[in-house]
Protein backbone atom coordinates (compact mmCIF):
# COMPACT_ATOMS: atom_id res chain seq x y z
CA UNK A 1 0.00 0.00 0.00
CA UNK A 2 1.28 3.44 -0.83
CA UNK A 3 0.46 6.82 0.71
CA UNK A 4 -2.60 7.44 -1.53
CA UNK A 5 -4.02 4.04 -0.83
CA UNK A 6 -3.52 4.42 2.94
CA UNK A 7 -5.21 7.84 2.83
CA UNK A 8 -8.20 6.54 0.88
CA UNK A 9 -8.49 3.52 3.15
CA UNK A 10 -8.57 5.61 6.33
CA UNK A 11 -11.18 7.95 4.80
CA UNK A 12 -13.30 4.93 3.91
CA UNK A 13 -12.99 3.59 7.46
CA UNK A 14 -14.06 6.99 8.81
CA UNK A 15 -17.19 6.86 6.66
CA UNK A 16 -17.90 3.32 7.84
CA UNK A 17 -17.60 4.49 11.46
CA UNK A 18 -20.14 7.26 10.91
CA UNK A 19 -22.51 4.91 9.08
CA UNK A 20 -22.31 2.11 11.61
CA UNK A 21 -22.62 4.32 14.69
CA UNK A 22 -25.20 6.58 13.05
CA UNK A 23 -23.09 9.62 13.87
CA UNK A 24 -20.15 10.22 16.16
CA UNK A 25 -21.99 10.80 19.44
CA UNK A 26 -20.17 9.17 22.38
CA UNK A 27 -17.27 8.04 20.21
CA UNK A 28 -13.62 8.26 21.24
CA UNK A 29 -10.51 6.97 19.50
CA UNK A 30 -7.75 5.15 21.35
CA UNK A 31 -4.64 4.22 19.39
CA UNK A 32 -2.24 1.47 20.42
CA UNK A 33 1.34 2.78 20.63
CA UNK A 34 3.12 3.58 18.41
CA UNK A 35 1.54 3.52 14.96
CA UNK A 36 -2.01 2.92 16.13
CA UNK A 37 -1.87 6.39 17.65
CA UNK A 38 -0.91 8.01 14.37
CA UNK A 39 -3.67 6.14 12.55
CA UNK A 40 -6.18 7.11 15.25
CA UNK A 41 -5.28 10.80 14.84
CA UNK A 42 -5.72 10.56 11.07
CA UNK A 43 -9.09 8.87 11.40
CA UNK A 44 -10.06 11.56 13.94
CA UNK A 45 -9.15 14.20 11.36
CA UNK A 46 -11.27 12.46 8.70
CA UNK A 47 -14.20 12.15 11.11
CA UNK A 48 -13.95 15.87 11.80
CA UNK A 49 -13.98 16.67 8.09
CA UNK A 50 -17.01 14.44 7.57
CA UNK A 51 -19.08 15.40 10.62
CA UNK A 52 -17.60 18.68 11.87
CA UNK A 53 -17.14 17.19 15.33
CA UNK A 54 -13.88 16.81 17.24
CA UNK A 55 -13.37 13.24 18.41
CA UNK A 56 -11.44 12.70 21.67
CA UNK A 57 -8.27 10.75 20.91
CA UNK A 58 -6.02 8.89 23.33
CA UNK A 59 -2.88 6.78 23.25
CA UNK A 60 -2.51 3.40 24.91
CA UNK A 61 0.74 1.60 25.67
CA UNK A 62 0.02 -2.09 26.22
CA UNK A 63 3.51 -3.21 27.27
CA UNK A 64 2.64 -3.80 30.92
CA UNK A 65 -0.31 -5.97 29.84
CA UNK A 66 1.58 -8.20 27.39
CA UNK A 67 1.08 -11.90 27.98
CA UNK A 68 4.71 -12.67 27.19
CA UNK A 69 6.09 -10.21 29.77
CA UNK A 70 8.51 -11.95 32.17
CA UNK A 71 8.04 -15.21 30.31
CA UNK A 72 11.27 -15.06 28.44
CA UNK A 73 14.09 -16.42 30.53
CA UNK A 74 16.54 -13.73 29.49
CA UNK A 75 16.63 -10.35 27.84
CA UNK A 76 15.86 -6.80 28.85
CA UNK A 77 12.32 -5.62 29.41
CA UNK A 78 10.47 -4.00 26.52
CA UNK A 79 10.22 -0.22 26.67
CA UNK A 80 7.19 1.24 28.39
CA UNK A 81 5.81 4.41 26.87
CA UNK A 82 3.20 6.90 27.97
CA UNK A 83 -0.47 6.04 28.07
CA UNK A 84 -2.50 9.21 27.58
CA UNK A 85 -6.26 8.92 27.76
CA UNK A 86 -7.27 12.42 28.89
CA UNK A 87 -11.01 11.69 28.98
CA UNK A 88 -13.37 9.29 30.70
CA UNK A 89 -14.12 6.16 28.70
CA UNK A 90 -17.16 5.33 30.85
CA UNK A 91 -20.30 4.87 28.75
CA UNK A 92 -18.48 5.85 25.58
CA UNK A 93 -18.00 3.81 22.45
CA UNK A 94 -14.26 3.33 22.14
CA UNK A 95 -12.71 2.87 18.72
CA UNK A 96 -9.53 0.93 19.41
CA UNK A 97 -6.97 1.46 16.63
CA UNK A 98 -3.91 -0.62 15.75
CA UNK A 99 -1.77 -0.88 12.65
CA UNK A 100 -1.65 -4.64 12.14
CA UNK A 101 -3.90 -7.38 13.48
CA UNK A 102 -1.97 -10.65 13.66
CA UNK A 103 -2.17 -13.08 16.59
CA UNK A 104 -4.68 -10.93 18.44
CA UNK A 105 -2.51 -10.85 21.56
CA UNK A 106 -1.86 -7.11 21.40
CA UNK A 107 -5.59 -6.54 21.09
CA UNK A 108 -6.25 -8.79 24.09
CA UNK A 109 -3.74 -6.75 26.11
CA UNK A 110 -5.30 -3.50 24.90
CA UNK A 111 -8.79 -4.66 25.91
CA UNK A 112 -7.55 -5.49 29.41
CA UNK A 113 -5.78 -2.14 29.67
CA UNK A 114 -8.86 -0.22 28.50
CA UNK A 115 -11.11 -1.92 31.03
CA UNK A 116 -8.79 -0.60 33.78
CA UNK A 117 -9.73 2.91 32.70
CA UNK A 118 -13.46 2.42 33.06
CA UNK A 119 -16.46 0.69 31.57
CA UNK A 120 -17.03 1.71 27.97
CA UNK A 121 -20.41 1.21 26.34
CA UNK A 122 -18.70 -0.70 23.56
CA UNK A 123 -15.27 -1.26 22.06
CA UNK A 124 -14.85 -1.52 18.29
CA UNK A 125 -11.57 -2.55 16.68
CA UNK A 126 -10.01 -0.74 13.72
CA UNK A 127 -6.91 -2.11 11.98
CA UNK A 128 -5.10 -0.90 8.90
CA UNK A 129 -3.99 -4.41 7.96
CA UNK A 130 -5.36 -7.81 8.98
CA UNK A 131 -2.68 -10.37 8.16
CA UNK A 132 -4.44 -13.45 9.58
CA UNK A 133 -2.90 -16.16 11.81
CA UNK A 134 -5.11 -15.38 14.82
CA UNK A 135 -4.29 -17.16 18.06
CA UNK A 136 -7.16 -15.66 20.06
CA UNK A 137 -10.86 -15.26 19.26
CA UNK A 138 -10.56 -11.63 18.15
CA UNK A 139 -12.00 -9.99 15.04
CA UNK A 140 -11.71 -6.44 13.74
CA UNK A 141 -14.81 -4.32 13.09
CA UNK A 142 -13.10 -2.14 10.47
CA UNK A 143 -10.29 -3.50 8.29
CA UNK A 144 -8.21 -1.36 5.95
CA UNK A 145 -6.88 -4.30 4.00
CA UNK A 146 -6.92 -8.05 4.38
CA UNK A 147 -3.43 -9.24 3.56
CA UNK A 148 -2.93 -13.01 3.49
CA UNK A 149 0.57 -13.78 4.72
CA UNK A 150 2.85 -16.66 5.55
CA UNK A 151 4.05 -17.05 9.12
CA UNK A 152 7.64 -16.27 8.15
CA UNK A 153 6.69 -13.00 6.51
CA UNK A 154 6.34 -9.73 8.36
CA UNK A 155 4.08 -6.78 7.61
CA UNK A 156 5.80 -3.43 7.97
CA UNK A 157 3.59 -0.42 8.38
CA UNK A 158 5.51 2.83 8.01
CA UNK A 159 3.86 6.16 8.64
CA UNK A 160 4.95 9.72 7.99
CA UNK A 161 4.77 10.63 11.69
CA UNK A 162 7.21 7.96 12.89
CA UNK A 163 9.01 6.69 9.78
CA UNK A 164 8.95 9.61 7.35
CA UNK A 165 7.02 7.68 4.70
CA UNK A 166 3.53 6.21 4.27
CA UNK A 167 3.64 2.59 3.15
CA UNK A 168 2.66 -0.96 3.99
CA UNK A 169 5.05 -3.62 2.75
CA UNK A 170 5.33 -7.37 3.11
CA UNK A 171 8.85 -8.46 4.05
CA UNK A 172 10.56 -11.74 4.63
CA UNK A 173 11.21 -11.85 8.37
CA UNK A 174 14.91 -11.78 9.22
CA UNK A 175 14.61 -14.48 11.82
CA UNK A 176 11.18 -16.09 12.07
CA UNK A 177 12.14 -18.05 15.20
CA UNK A 178 12.96 -14.90 17.10
CA UNK A 179 10.67 -14.72 20.12
CA UNK A 180 8.64 -11.62 20.68
CA UNK A 181 9.31 -10.49 17.13
CA UNK A 182 5.94 -11.08 15.65
CA UNK A 183 2.75 -10.13 17.35
Amino acid sequence: MDADRIGRTLTRIAHEIVERNKGVEDLALVGVRTRGVHIARRIGQSLKEITGHDIATGALDITLYRDDLMRQAVGPQPLVRMTEIPFSIDNRKILLVDDVLYTGRTTRAALDALIDFGRPKAIQLIVLVDRGHRELPIKADYVGKNLPTAADESVQVRLQESDGVDEVVLEQAVDPSKPGGAR
Binding site: G75, P76, M82, E84, D99, Q156, V157, R183
Partner: protein, 318 residues
Protein backbone atom coordinates in the same frame (compact mmCIF):
# COMPACT_ATOMS: atom_id res chain seq x y z
CA UNK B 1 19.32 1.54 24.47
CA UNK B 2 16.87 -1.30 24.77
CA UNK B 3 16.90 -2.29 28.39
CA UNK B 4 18.60 -2.58 31.71
CA UNK B 5 20.94 -5.51 31.42
CA UNK B 6 21.73 -6.03 35.07
CA UNK B 7 20.50 -8.19 37.92
CA UNK B 8 20.64 -5.65 40.75
CA UNK B 9 20.48 -1.95 41.43
CA UNK B 10 23.24 -1.43 43.97
CA UNK B 11 24.18 2.16 43.28
CA UNK B 12 24.16 4.99 40.78
CA UNK B 13 27.95 4.73 40.38
CA UNK B 14 27.53 1.59 38.24
CA UNK B 15 24.87 3.04 35.91
CA UNK B 16 25.53 4.62 32.53
CA UNK B 17 23.82 7.88 31.50
CA UNK B 18 21.75 5.86 29.01
CA UNK B 19 20.54 3.56 31.76
CA UNK B 20 19.64 6.52 33.95
CA UNK B 21 17.68 8.08 31.08
CA UNK B 22 15.90 4.77 30.46
CA UNK B 23 14.82 4.57 34.11
CA UNK B 24 13.60 8.19 34.09
CA UNK B 25 11.70 7.73 30.81
CA UNK B 26 10.10 4.54 32.10
CA UNK B 27 9.14 6.34 35.33
CA UNK B 28 7.33 8.93 33.24
CA UNK B 29 5.09 6.21 31.81
CA UNK B 30 4.67 4.68 35.28
CA UNK B 31 3.56 7.97 36.79
CA UNK B 32 0.40 7.98 34.68
CA UNK B 33 -0.70 4.67 36.25
CA UNK B 34 -0.94 6.37 39.65
CA UNK B 35 -3.52 8.81 38.27
CA UNK B 36 -5.94 6.13 37.08
CA UNK B 37 -8.99 4.93 38.99
CA UNK B 38 -7.57 1.40 38.85
CA UNK B 39 -3.99 2.08 39.95
CA UNK B 40 -2.64 -1.30 39.03
CA UNK B 41 -1.11 -3.02 36.04
CA UNK B 42 -0.44 -6.75 35.76
CA UNK B 43 3.26 -6.46 34.83
CA UNK B 44 4.79 -8.18 37.90
CA UNK B 45 1.94 -10.63 38.52
CA UNK B 46 3.23 -13.68 40.33
CA UNK B 47 6.53 -12.07 41.33
CA UNK B 48 7.43 -11.95 45.02
CA UNK B 49 9.28 -8.96 46.41
CA UNK B 50 10.71 -8.92 49.95
CA UNK B 51 11.18 -5.52 51.59
CA UNK B 52 13.95 -6.11 54.10
CA UNK B 53 14.47 -2.97 56.17
CA UNK B 54 17.07 -2.99 58.91
CA UNK B 55 16.67 0.74 59.56
CA UNK B 56 13.60 2.85 60.25
CA UNK B 57 11.92 4.23 57.15
CA UNK B 58 8.47 5.58 56.38
CA UNK B 59 8.81 7.13 52.98
CA UNK B 60 11.09 4.67 51.25
CA UNK B 61 9.43 1.52 52.56
CA UNK B 62 5.86 2.63 51.86
CA UNK B 63 6.96 4.01 48.49
CA UNK B 64 8.48 0.67 47.48
CA UNK B 65 5.45 -1.20 48.77
CA UNK B 66 3.00 0.97 46.82
CA UNK B 67 5.19 0.65 43.71
CA UNK B 68 5.25 -3.14 44.06
CA UNK B 69 1.49 -3.33 44.57
CA UNK B 70 0.78 -1.07 41.58
CA UNK B 71 2.75 -3.54 39.47
CA UNK B 72 0.77 -6.49 40.95
CA UNK B 73 3.76 -8.06 42.71
CA UNK B 74 3.24 -9.96 45.96
CA UNK B 75 5.01 -8.03 48.67
CA UNK B 76 6.35 -9.08 51.99
CA UNK B 77 7.67 -6.72 54.64
CA UNK B 78 10.20 -8.06 57.10
CA UNK B 79 10.18 -5.90 60.20
CA UNK B 80 13.45 -6.27 61.95
CA UNK B 81 12.08 -5.74 65.46
CA UNK B 82 10.08 -8.96 65.10
CA UNK B 83 12.64 -10.92 63.10
CA UNK B 84 15.35 -13.41 63.99
CA UNK B 85 17.94 -10.65 63.69
CA UNK B 86 17.19 -9.77 67.31
CA UNK B 87 18.14 -13.38 68.12
CA UNK B 88 21.57 -12.86 66.60
CA UNK B 89 21.16 -14.06 63.00
CA UNK B 90 23.60 -12.52 60.52
CA UNK B 91 22.49 -10.56 57.46
CA UNK B 92 23.77 -13.29 55.14
CA UNK B 93 21.85 -15.98 57.02
CA UNK B 94 18.67 -13.91 57.05
CA UNK B 95 19.02 -13.35 53.32
CA UNK B 96 19.72 -16.98 52.53
CA UNK B 97 16.73 -18.11 54.57
CA UNK B 98 14.48 -15.64 52.78
CA UNK B 99 16.00 -16.74 49.49
CA UNK B 100 15.11 -20.36 50.30
CA UNK B 101 11.48 -19.28 49.98
CA UNK B 102 12.22 -18.26 46.41
CA UNK B 103 11.41 -14.55 46.15
CA UNK B 104 12.25 -12.73 42.92
CA UNK B 105 13.56 -9.48 44.36
CA UNK B 106 14.84 -8.20 47.68
CA UNK B 107 14.68 -4.50 48.54
CA UNK B 108 17.29 -3.93 51.23
CA UNK B 109 17.97 -1.10 53.61
CA UNK B 110 20.84 -1.61 56.01
CA UNK B 111 23.04 0.54 58.24
CA UNK B 112 26.25 -0.99 56.83
CA UNK B 113 27.71 0.37 53.61
CA UNK B 114 28.10 -2.51 51.16
CA UNK B 115 25.34 -4.69 52.63
CA UNK B 116 23.61 -4.79 49.24
CA UNK B 117 26.80 -5.82 47.47
CA UNK B 118 27.17 -8.69 49.92
CA UNK B 119 23.63 -9.91 49.23
CA UNK B 120 24.08 -9.45 45.51
CA UNK B 121 26.94 -11.95 45.62
CA UNK B 122 25.10 -14.59 47.62
CA UNK B 123 21.54 -14.18 46.35
CA UNK B 124 19.96 -15.27 43.12
CA UNK B 125 17.18 -12.72 43.66
CA UNK B 126 17.54 -9.23 42.26
CA UNK B 127 18.78 -6.87 44.99
CA UNK B 128 17.57 -3.27 45.07
CA UNK B 129 19.48 -0.91 47.35
CA UNK B 130 17.06 1.15 49.45
CA UNK B 131 19.92 2.80 51.32
CA UNK B 132 23.09 1.17 52.65
CA UNK B 133 24.99 2.94 55.41
CA UNK B 134 26.81 6.02 54.19
CA UNK B 135 27.21 4.57 50.72
CA UNK B 136 24.29 4.99 48.32
CA UNK B 137 20.54 5.43 48.08
CA UNK B 138 20.07 5.08 44.32
CA UNK B 139 16.28 5.28 44.05
CA UNK B 140 16.32 8.57 46.00
CA UNK B 141 18.79 10.08 43.54
CA UNK B 142 16.70 8.79 40.64
CA UNK B 143 13.52 10.33 42.00
CA UNK B 144 15.37 13.59 42.66
CA UNK B 145 16.61 13.59 39.06
CA UNK B 146 13.12 12.78 37.82
CA UNK B 147 11.70 15.70 39.81
CA UNK B 148 14.36 18.09 38.53
CA UNK B 149 13.79 16.95 34.95
CA UNK B 150 10.03 17.38 35.37
CA UNK B 151 10.58 20.97 36.52
CA UNK B 152 13.48 22.07 34.35
CA UNK B 153 13.15 19.75 31.37
CA UNK B 154 16.79 18.71 31.62
CA UNK B 155 19.63 17.93 34.00
CA UNK B 156 22.69 19.02 32.09
CA UNK B 157 23.99 22.51 32.63
CA UNK B 158 21.96 23.13 35.80
CA UNK B 159 23.62 24.46 38.91
CA UNK B 160 22.56 22.19 41.76
CA UNK B 161 23.55 23.19 45.31
CA UNK B 162 23.37 20.42 47.90
CA UNK B 163 23.52 21.80 51.43
CA UNK B 164 23.60 20.09 54.81
CA UNK B 165 25.08 17.02 56.46
CA UNK B 166 27.34 15.93 53.61
CA UNK B 167 29.36 13.51 55.72
CA UNK B 168 26.57 11.13 56.72
CA UNK B 169 24.48 11.33 53.58
CA UNK B 170 24.11 8.40 51.20
CA UNK B 171 21.57 10.55 49.34
CA UNK B 172 24.40 12.98 48.61
CA UNK B 173 26.69 10.29 47.25
CA UNK B 174 24.04 8.88 44.92
CA UNK B 175 23.03 12.36 43.82
CA UNK B 176 26.61 13.37 43.08
CA UNK B 177 27.13 10.29 40.92
CA UNK B 178 23.89 10.84 39.07
CA UNK B 179 24.04 14.60 38.56
CA UNK B 180 27.67 14.65 37.45
CA UNK B 181 27.05 11.76 35.01
CA UNK B 182 24.15 13.75 33.54
CA UNK B 183 26.22 16.90 33.16
CA UNK B 184 24.94 19.08 36.01
CA UNK B 185 27.18 21.58 37.81
CA UNK B 186 27.11 20.29 41.38
CA UNK B 187 28.04 22.38 44.43
CA UNK B 188 28.07 20.96 47.93
CA UNK B 189 27.99 23.09 51.06
CA UNK B 190 28.08 22.52 54.80
CA UNK B 191 30.17 23.12 57.90
CA UNK B 192 33.83 22.17 57.25
CA UNK B 193 33.49 19.39 59.82
CA UNK B 194 30.73 17.79 57.73
CA UNK B 195 32.49 17.99 54.33
CA UNK B 196 34.09 14.61 53.48
CA UNK B 197 37.84 15.03 52.84
CA UNK B 198 37.87 13.62 49.30
CA UNK B 199 34.57 15.08 48.10
CA UNK B 200 36.19 17.15 45.31
CA UNK B 201 37.43 13.93 43.70
CA UNK B 202 33.82 13.27 42.71
CA UNK B 203 33.77 16.25 40.35
CA UNK B 204 31.89 18.67 42.57
CA UNK B 205 32.71 22.06 44.05
CA UNK B 206 32.70 22.24 47.84
CA UNK B 207 32.31 25.35 49.98
CA UNK B 208 31.35 26.34 53.49
CA UNK B 209 30.10 29.74 52.31
CA UNK B 210 26.42 29.20 51.73
CA UNK B 211 25.95 32.27 49.50
CA UNK B 212 28.54 30.89 47.09
CA UNK B 213 26.57 27.67 46.78
CA UNK B 214 23.16 29.32 46.44
CA UNK B 215 24.14 32.09 44.01
CA UNK B 216 22.39 31.52 40.64
CA UNK B 217 21.45 27.99 41.65
CA UNK B 218 18.72 26.30 39.58
CA UNK B 219 18.15 23.71 42.27
CA UNK B 220 18.81 23.87 46.02
CA UNK B 221 18.69 20.53 47.78
CA UNK B 222 18.78 20.44 51.57
CA UNK B 223 20.04 17.42 53.46
CA UNK B 224 18.95 16.45 56.95
CA UNK B 225 21.33 16.89 59.85
CA UNK B 226 21.63 13.26 60.91
CA UNK B 227 22.02 13.61 64.65
CA UNK B 228 21.58 9.87 65.14
CA UNK B 229 24.77 9.20 63.19
CA UNK B 230 26.83 11.90 64.90
CA UNK B 231 29.09 10.75 67.69
CA UNK B 232 31.13 13.91 68.11
CA UNK B 233 30.24 17.59 68.11
CA UNK B 234 30.37 18.71 64.48
CA UNK B 235 28.93 22.16 65.15
CA UNK B 236 28.10 24.10 68.33
CA UNK B 237 24.31 23.79 68.32
CA UNK B 238 21.32 23.26 66.03
CA UNK B 239 20.43 26.92 66.40
CA UNK B 240 23.95 27.90 65.36
CA UNK B 241 23.63 25.59 62.35
CA UNK B 242 20.33 27.17 61.34
CA UNK B 243 21.80 30.66 61.67
CA UNK B 244 24.68 29.85 59.33
CA UNK B 245 23.32 27.17 56.97
CA UNK B 246 19.53 27.07 57.40
CA UNK B 247 17.67 27.78 54.15
CA UNK B 248 15.57 30.89 54.60
CA UNK B 249 13.72 33.08 52.12
CA UNK B 250 16.36 35.79 52.56
CA UNK B 251 19.15 33.39 51.63
CA UNK B 252 17.30 32.16 48.58
CA UNK B 253 17.20 35.61 47.00
CA UNK B 254 20.56 35.13 45.29
CA UNK B 255 19.40 31.92 43.61
CA UNK B 256 17.75 31.96 40.19
CA UNK B 257 14.20 33.33 40.25
CA UNK B 258 12.80 29.94 39.21
CA UNK B 259 14.84 28.01 41.77
CA UNK B 260 13.54 24.59 42.83
CA UNK B 261 13.81 23.58 46.50
CA UNK B 262 14.22 19.93 47.35
CA UNK B 263 14.63 17.82 50.47
CA UNK B 264 14.79 14.02 50.58
CA UNK B 265 13.07 13.94 53.98
CA UNK B 266 12.57 13.57 56.82
CA UNK B 267 12.85 17.33 57.30
CA UNK B 268 14.04 19.08 60.43
CA UNK B 269 12.13 22.34 60.17
CA UNK B 270 14.09 25.17 61.70
CA UNK B 271 17.40 23.31 61.32
CA UNK B 272 18.34 22.83 57.66
CA UNK B 273 15.24 24.51 56.25
CA UNK B 274 12.74 27.13 57.42
CA UNK B 275 9.05 26.34 57.24
CA UNK B 276 8.47 29.25 54.84
CA UNK B 277 10.86 27.69 52.33
CA UNK B 278 9.70 24.12 52.90
CA UNK B 279 6.07 25.04 52.27
CA UNK B 280 6.81 27.84 49.82
CA UNK B 281 6.07 28.10 46.11
CA UNK B 282 9.49 26.82 44.99
CA UNK B 283 9.33 23.67 47.08
CA UNK B 284 8.84 20.35 45.26
CA UNK B 285 9.37 18.29 48.40
CA UNK B 286 6.01 16.52 48.14
CA UNK B 287 6.41 16.05 44.38
CA UNK B 288 9.58 14.16 45.22
CA UNK B 289 7.53 11.76 47.32
CA UNK B 290 4.92 11.26 44.57
CA UNK B 291 7.61 10.72 41.96
CA UNK B 292 9.34 8.20 44.22
CA UNK B 293 6.58 5.69 43.55
CA UNK B 294 6.86 6.08 39.77
CA UNK B 295 10.65 5.81 39.81
CA UNK B 296 10.56 2.69 42.00
CA UNK B 297 7.96 1.13 39.70
CA UNK B 298 10.34 1.76 36.81
CA UNK B 299 13.28 0.17 38.63
CA UNK B 300 11.23 -2.86 39.73
CA UNK B 301 9.87 -3.34 36.23
CA UNK B 302 13.20 -2.95 34.47
CA UNK B 303 15.02 -5.33 36.82
CA UNK B 304 12.24 -7.93 36.91
CA UNK B 305 12.82 -9.29 33.45
CA UNK B 306 16.46 -9.03 32.71
CA UNK B 307 18.27 -11.45 34.96
CA UNK B 308 21.32 -9.50 33.85
CA UNK B 309 21.97 -11.65 30.82
CA UNK B 310 22.17 -11.03 27.14
CA UNK B 311 18.93 -11.89 25.47
CA UNK B 312 16.44 -11.37 22.73
CA UNK B 313 15.41 -7.91 21.67
CA UNK B 314 11.74 -7.18 21.74
CA UNK B 315 11.04 -5.59 18.41
CA UNK B 316 7.68 -4.08 17.68
CA UNK B 317 7.16 -5.76 14.35
CA UNK B 318 3.99 -7.33 13.17
Amino acid sequence: MSGLRRKDLLGISELTPDEITLILDTAQAMKEIGSRTVKKVPALRGKTVVNLFFEPSTRTRTSFEIAEKRLSADTLNVAIATSSVVKGETLADTAMNLEAMNPDMIVLRHSSSGACHLLSRICRSAIINAGDGLHEHPTQALLDAYTIRERKGRLSGLKVAIIGDLLHSRVLRSNIHLLTKMGADVWVCGPPTLIPANIRDFGVRATSVIDEAVRDADVVMLLRIQLERMEGAYFPSLREYYNVFGMTEARLKSARPDVTIMHPGPMNRGVEISSEVADGPYSVILDQVSNGVAVRMAVLYLLAGSGGQEGAEHEEAA
